[in-house]
């Protein structure tokens, strides 16, 4: 999302690079000599500028939703709110104080937040800010495909909850987190520039020799920014997206593959509001219609790159017709509404039937107008092989990216932020160095299992739906039926997708 802005800033950054490289190294050279003797003890508070270079406890590189969520979470816990936090992001929106107005056209970049994320936000005190802007809860979901053989309906009432999720614009989430942080009295500073390089001072404690640098900041990470600023940090958090610079600098390799699909996203207007989210799997990829409130909805339509380029450039009426076809009965017939349950075989399960199993198939609302630009994004699966390295930790898209078909991507990131802030609090409680590997590895072991499980399932879905083969279609239809009528399975899926359950089974 910051890509457009970043592209504009990069040319001007290159001219800065030649001037910046001598700035920080000179100061450190000069002071090395004066700190040569070991008897110097420096009493300094964390933000004291020894060497005139400010020191922070946590430096969050990337001020997007997940980075800000981590900062806000640290600010809201009593054990961590004294930590000095630096946020490094060149997006000018972070420093701008203009608020989001109600009349603004809805931004096509939205996220579906799960109930687990909503309670995370409520715990930090940030949800009240989200509620001031446009947001839409939905409590029903309908999933079907182009074969017309079956459909599944989910309802929040199946698991006794009020909502399945909430659709919020990304900028609203980011701004709410920023406002929440500003209202708390945490010590933070936003650096409006990009990270250039990072060095970790290695210290080997060989007694008796003078080769050790005994500067007070000897083992901290040093970050050099593109505008010439320097800062030290005990912990560097990489929250800078899928093309994470922090991940590259830390030398963490990744596994993954590109999907042969791009996603078009846009906002549309329709005739009536519904508190239902719709997803239809077409031959080329799923199309999702997510309610945003005020009769607006967000469309996420996945297809192969050529078609995506075509659909982006076609005129509005043709595009709307294509969208209505995709959601309605183009590409295949409507599924039959099964009013009497799944037939004889599954009748024995009917006593425990969820309320949504008896709901008929509903046709999504008719789209009348296009309300925003159409954007195209390439899709890929990526997973960092390690989430942590010495004094570096990755959260959010920097650690993993997934297919948008279940709306889980940013929720995994928020789960990372939640877990990392808890681990940092535990570290502070026992006085450990927050950049220490043993502490960070606890975060990694907690999140890796959960993230990999979710990614595997989503990738499985994507692969299963990319093949159009008769027997496989029937198998998928049977799966739809099964999920719709086998209540324990449906309840399990709903609570897993809502984030209430960490792993798909065994919980």
């Amino acid at each position: 999302m910051n890509r457009a802005i970043v592209r504009r800033i990069t040319p001007s950054i290159r001219t800065w690079r030649s001037t910046l490289k001598t700035f920080c190294s000179d100061t450190s050279e000069k002071l090395h000599g004066s700190h040569g003797d070991k008897a110097v003890t420096v009493k300094s508070s964390s933000l004291d500028s020894t060497d005139n270079v400010p020191q922070y406890d946590v430096a969050i590189v990337g001020g997007g939703m997940v980075g800000m969520a981590l900062a806000c979470s640290l600010a809201s816990m009593p054990l961590t709110k004294h930590l000095n936090v630096a946020i490094i992001d060149s997006n000018p929106a972070l420093l701008a104080r203009d608020s989001i107005k109600k009349e603004d056209a809805p931004d096509p970049r939205v996220s579906t937040v799960t109930p687990a994320t909503i309670s995370f936000f409520k715990g930090m005190g940030a949800w009240q800010y989200v509620q001031l802007h446009r947001h839409a809860f939905f409590d029903r979901m309908q999933v079907w495909d182009y074969t017309g053989l079956a459909y599944t309906r989910y309802s929040a009432r199946d698991v006794g909850k009020a909502v399945l999720g909430c659709v919020v614009e990304n900028k609203v989430l980011q701004r709410s987190l920023l406002s929440c942080m500003e209202d708390s009295d945490v010590k933070k500073k936003i650096y409006p520039s990009r990270l250039n390089s990072m060095t970790l001072h290695k210290s080997s404690l060989i007694s008796g020799t003078d080769s050790i640098s005994s500067k007070p900041s000897g083992s901290l990470a040093k970050l050099n920014l593109s505008n010439g600023d320097c800062l030290y940090a005990k912990l560097v958090v990489g929250a800078d997206g899928s093309k994470s610079h922090v991940r590259n600098l830390a030398g963490i390799s990744t596994t993954g593959w590109k999907y042969p699909q791009n996603a078009i996203i846009c906002t549309v207007e329709h005739t009536e509001d519904s508190r239902c989210a719709w997803q239809r799997f077409l031959r080329t990829g799923p199309i999702a219609l997510l309610p945003m409130g005020d009769n607006y909805s967000n469309i996420v339509w996945t297809m192969d790159p050529q078609q995506a380029a075509d659909r982006r450039s076609m005129n509005e009426t043709d595009f709307l017709k294509a969208v209505n076809d995709a959601l309605d009965d183009g590409h295949g017939p409507h599924p039959q509404s099964e009013r009497m349950g799944g037939g004889g075989i599954l009748a024995w399960l009917r006593s425990d039937e969820t309320s949504s199993a008896s709901e008929p198939f509903e046709v999504p609302p008719r789209i009348t107008k296009l309300a925003s630009d159409r954007m195209v994004f390439p899709l890929s699966l990526m997973h960092a092989n390690n989430y942590v390295s010495k004094r570096v930790v990755l959260i959010g898209d920097a650690a993993h990216t997934v297919h948008p078909l279940a709306g889980q991507g940013v929720n995994l990131g928020f789960g990372d932020a939640n877990s990392l802030s808890k681990v940092i609090a535990e570290g502070v409680a026992v006085g450990s160095d927050i950049g220490e590997m043993t502490l960070l590895k606890r975060y990694e072991s907690e999140r890796k299992a959960a993230n990999i499980a979710m990614m595997a399932i989503l990738d499985g879905f994507q692969k299963a739906y990319s093949i159009d083969f008769g027997p496989l279609n029937v198998l998928r239809a049977a799966a739809f039926h099964g999920v719709n009528y086998i209540s324990p399975l449906k309840k399990n899926i709903i609570s897993y997708a809502s984030g209430e359950q960490r792993l798909p089974i065994f919980t």
Partner: protein, 314 residues
């Protein structure tokens, strides 16, 4: 926490009228001086009874530096001197200590916050308190205590350890205020230093005279202050786990780090602390879960245990 029943039983034993032998592990309270030296299961040579040593408080006004205090054990010092460089290598010979550290800090934090009446949710609860870490080694315990706000003095008899500790502490501005001294508890007592809390973790099994050591620890504590001591129990299970498995099978510790005969049972520790006017309030054990690789606090004091006591108010 652990063994409230055990503690009350122990308090019963210390009354001189009870002379029953409860079970072989309990020390028969004979005379004061020979208490620690009756070790029924040990075949190590008995150290000479305390009475035969010159009394520590004599008329000398200026004790020389050369006089070795009674609680040092030269062989133990040599053992630690040899591996001093590896203190901060989290994968080296001190790995078990690093892995166990957060667990024992959790115990220390909760008991000392309660003792001093501090807010357990504060980030620096020990602000304004003076702590001494006796036998600090490389400073593995001292640094987190300093980060929790305490004014920490770390002492160790091995000079190499103090050097390593000082170098490492200087790397983080939060810990560079720790005062490291190459000295002993007895010398600090002679200097008449007093601290709000005295901690001696995993030290007492390496000293020659545990009773005298405890008396020095008590003398360093202000009246009403806190003491935390941790060590390994002298039980069959501890022999199997801490010596056979940890030293010979898993190679977590170098062979010979621990001598089973110098371990103390919780009952003995409570008794010698009682003699040093420290009443043990809480005791907990550490257990290691080999599947998750994590240590946790528990009521099981049969192998590693930690005791928190308060100095009696005079």
């Amino acid at each position: 926490m652990a063994s409230k029943l055990l503690l009350s039983q122990l308090r019963n034993i210390t009354r001189p009228t009870h002379h029953r032998l409860i079970n072989p592990n309990f020390i028969f309270p004979l005379k004061n001086q020979t208490l620690i030296h009756s070790r029924p299961y040990s075949d190590a040579p008995q150290p000479p009874p305390v009475g035969s040593k010159p009394p520590p408080t004599n008329a000398d006004s200026a004790p020389t530096h050369k006089k070795i205090s009674s609680s040092l054990n030269q062989a133990e010092l040599a053992k630690f001197s040899a591996i001093a460089e590896t203190w901060w290598d989290a994968e080296g010979p001190f790995k078990p200590l690093h892995v166990m550290n957060p667990t024992r800090l959790a115990f220390i934090r909760s008991t000392l916050c309660r003792h001093f009446g501090k807010d357990p949710y504060s980030a620096k609860p020990f602000e304004g308190l003076k702590f001494v870490d006796v036998g600090c080694g490389g400073g593995i315990l001292s640094e987190p205590l300093a980060r929790m706000g305490a004014t920490v003095t770390g002492i160790d008899a091995v000079e190499k350890n103090i050097n390593i500790a000082q170098l490492h502490a200087d790397l983080d501005p939060g810990t560079s205020s720790i005062e490291y001294l190459c000295t002993t508890a007895e010398k600090l007592v002679e200097e008449q230093r007093k601290f709000d809390a005295v901690l001696a973790l995993e030290v007492i099994e390496h000293v020659a005279e545990p009773a005298e050591f405890c008396k020095s620890l008590s003398a360093l504590t202000v009246s009403g202050g806190a003491n935390v001591i941790s060590t390994i129990n002298r039980s069959m299970r501890a022999y199997a786990t801490a010596i056979v498995v940890a030293e010979y099978l898993l190679h977590w510790l170098p062979k010979g780090t621990h001598e089973w005969s110098s371990f103390l049972t919780p009952e003995e520790l409570v008794l010698i602390l009682q003699r040093a006017s420290i009443s043990v309030q809480e005791m907990a054990g550490f257990v290691y879960n080999p599947l998750t690789g994590k240590w946790s606090l528990s009521d099981d004091i049969s192998v590693n245990f930690i005791a928190y006591g308060t100095k009696n108010t005079e």
